[in-house]
Symmetry: C2
Subunit: 479 residues, 2 copies
Amino acid sequence: MFFNIILAGGSGSRFWPRSRENHPKQLLNIDNNSSTLIQGTLQRLIPLASVEQTLIVSNHNHADETCRQLAEVNFPPGNLLAEPEGKNTAAAIGLAAQWIAREHPSAIMGIFPADHFIGDQVGFQKIVQEAQQLAEQGFLVTLGIRPNSPETGYGYIKQGDPLDETSFKIERFTEKPDAILAQKFLKEGGYFWNSGMFFWKAATFLDAMKRYMPDSYKIIEGIDDLICDNKGKFSYKIFTDEGKKRYASLPSISVDHGIMEKSRQSVVVPANFAWNDVGAWSALDEILPKDPEGNIISGDVLAIDCQNSILQGNHRLLAVLGMKNIIVVDSEDALLICDKSRAQEVKKITEKLKSDKRLESVTSPSVDRPWGSYTVLEERENYLVKRIEVFPGEKLSLQSHVYRSENWTVVQGQANAEKDGESFFLNINESIFIPQGVRHRLSNPGTEILILIEIQSGSKLDENDITRYQDIYGRTSEG
Amino acid sequence: MFFNIILAGGSGSRFWPRSRENHPKQLLNIDNNSSTLIQGTLQRLIPLASVEQTLIVSNHNHADETCRQLAEVNFPPGNLLAEPEGKNTAAAIGLAAQWIAREHPSAIMGIFPADHFIGDQVGFQKIVQEAQQLAEQGFLVTLGIRPNSPETGYGYIKQGDPLDETSFKIERFTEKPDAILAQKFLKEGGYFWNSGMFFWKAATFLDAMKRYMPDSYKIIEGIDDLICDNKGKFSYKIFTDEGKKRYASLPSISVDHGIMEKSRQSVVVPANFAWNDVGAWSALDEILPKDPEGNIISGDVLAIDCQNSILQGNHRLLAVLGMKNIIVVDSEDALLICDKSRAQEVKKITEKLKSDKRLESVTSPSVDRPWGSYTVLEERENYLVKRIEVFPGEKLSLQSHVYRSENWTVVQGQANAEKDGESFFLNINESIFIPQGVRHRLSNPGTEILILIEIQSGSKLDENDITRYQDIYGRTSEG
């Protein structure tokens, strides 16, 4: 019996401005394929175990959007567990192991990051089989990617004594090396890139955790007391108040350091398939096809005499003239221009934005909600114009605002507006005015997506100016 | 008696995306000073002649906006002449000379481009006085800037025999040279940059035009039959239908080639003041102060490890990391990224956009109108969201639309909406719906700028879908 575990708690600040704190890398269609990274990961894993035997550990901040994306590939929301806060890989894997071990302690778990690229499905499956066999024998198995360049963006694993013809004991894990050390590793041989993929029996892992991380083990031991069903649109698992408190007390430790380095059962299986952790914009060079000038271009871009550049346009025209080796990524509210060799430093930008308390590091003008999304079209001191999209059958909370009035105009689909207890049906072109303080509720009674333009007006225009009376998604804050 | 003539017909495609065909360089606040280039030019010239003795030759496409900008510095709109189409400098100057010569044939005219930079007001005025004295003696005078670098972006003037201690006959005019030739000019000496500034008596010029450009002279001779008053908000001079026809038949010839090169009365007065024709974005390097890293930054820009770059942000955040010698200019609908050494080639972009029939070469999302302006906030297939700003006391035309309905919501100021003959007064937060086909008219009865959000909805959303019944600005097309 085999379970896929997808770790989807990452934030991926190096893909700013397309990734944001509330919309991390795994939820992006970063290579402009038709699927997002997490959708691609799930599709890659379905041949290994059914969706029913696939668990996802995510973060409560993006659990709704994760479920929405995965619903498109028939993933059951009850198999997603939303951590109240990230506590690194040992805790997330421990949770998943507890969950599985309740019924299937000897089942094998494969741990897969949600946001990596694997270019060779056949090669991947073959190596997974080898790893599963070793896991069956009671080993803690990781896949080590054979390095083909002195990459400084990856951690390395040094092989120890051979276990059989194809795998090795692990001598040690090494953090991301500098360029000189990485060169040395490559020359010396016996080093692998740390892929973040692991295989073991649930019981084997829990035994190791009990031994090497006893305090952490104790905290997550009675998992059924920690979690409950989310009451919103998607019934994924969330933490109870008691569970949140206990989880908050966990140390933040990676499974590499907390368990793999300490156990003598740890082994590495070398892997040759094309793999990339998609750690920065420059990774697209390894993943996507290029034009004859070496450019990777998408969106509304006019490139004249440009070479070896990654140019991602958005709704606006991007005109680029005479540039080499640059990365340009446009988004609705922010634009990145970066020398390609410095793509790893994009997090310097998000750090600076965060310290300046700028919203561009956290959210994009388009914000996902369980009922749909909204996008800010214009924000001025006294008014704000939003496009609101509501999925068919969905319903916002019954709410009121202290400081602002709202004016809604339907531009696509049909709306039902509840205002001070009365119900109004709105077709295209029809509007309704919601004065300050009046209880109101918006829903989409139709079968197509409802789009309306909301004009907020008032002395304080703030998402927190919301008093919520009823909500089918069980929310107490947020719009 | 002295008249300033400001030539303001240019289009300045090399300042795209801030300049557009319908909003050329002279109307831009390109250096982020408080005034636009044409406002700065007028202010520089006021010490030479009063606004009443200043004439502006502009193009009918931007005459309204030019008048609006110059109204802020009390320029009388009746002194602006809007050409129906550009016919190069000889024709524009000929018009101005005819205009002046009707009453003051012996008055001296100084010709000044609207969009140049002059850094030394005192030095400028001193040279102008020298030029005026020579003009008084019947010469055709131009100012030649002493070159301090082998600039390939300027035309050159080769001096001939000396006329007096400070000025020279002109041997010849040279087009923009290549780098080798420019080096040679600089080494050889006796060359000046062609400043585009000229001084002569109106009668002297008209005599020369009659002699060297007799066909052109004949066409513009009876100027009073050619022009009339504009009936819009600003009563500048426009061409009659007969005038337009005659003007269209003029050849397009510069005053340098048409007259200066041919006349033996042509002289050049060398000038030392800081001058720049602001011919491309890179010119800002010569004009504006830099930060310690050599950057010129304005707007919402986060620059990390950038050097010698020109970074102009707009409403969105521009994050630039590790770049050198680049130009980045953001605008609402288009963004330019360009190697600084290739700033002169920006027109390649506008040419390509034009050949692709893309609007971004012609207009910006913010469009000036005699009554104010509008800005497109979002455009989709079936709806369009605009911010409309109306100046106090102004009034749009009485109009109707065949294909679209409109919904107006006031977010600042007060509106008067006429709808099917009835009048509605709208305060902040109030809306009105204008169905397809219904005659309507918007005006601002208040004392502050009116801002309203217009939502257009319909099967065809096109500025040309407008039937106009009455218009205080005398327009028959346009919104």
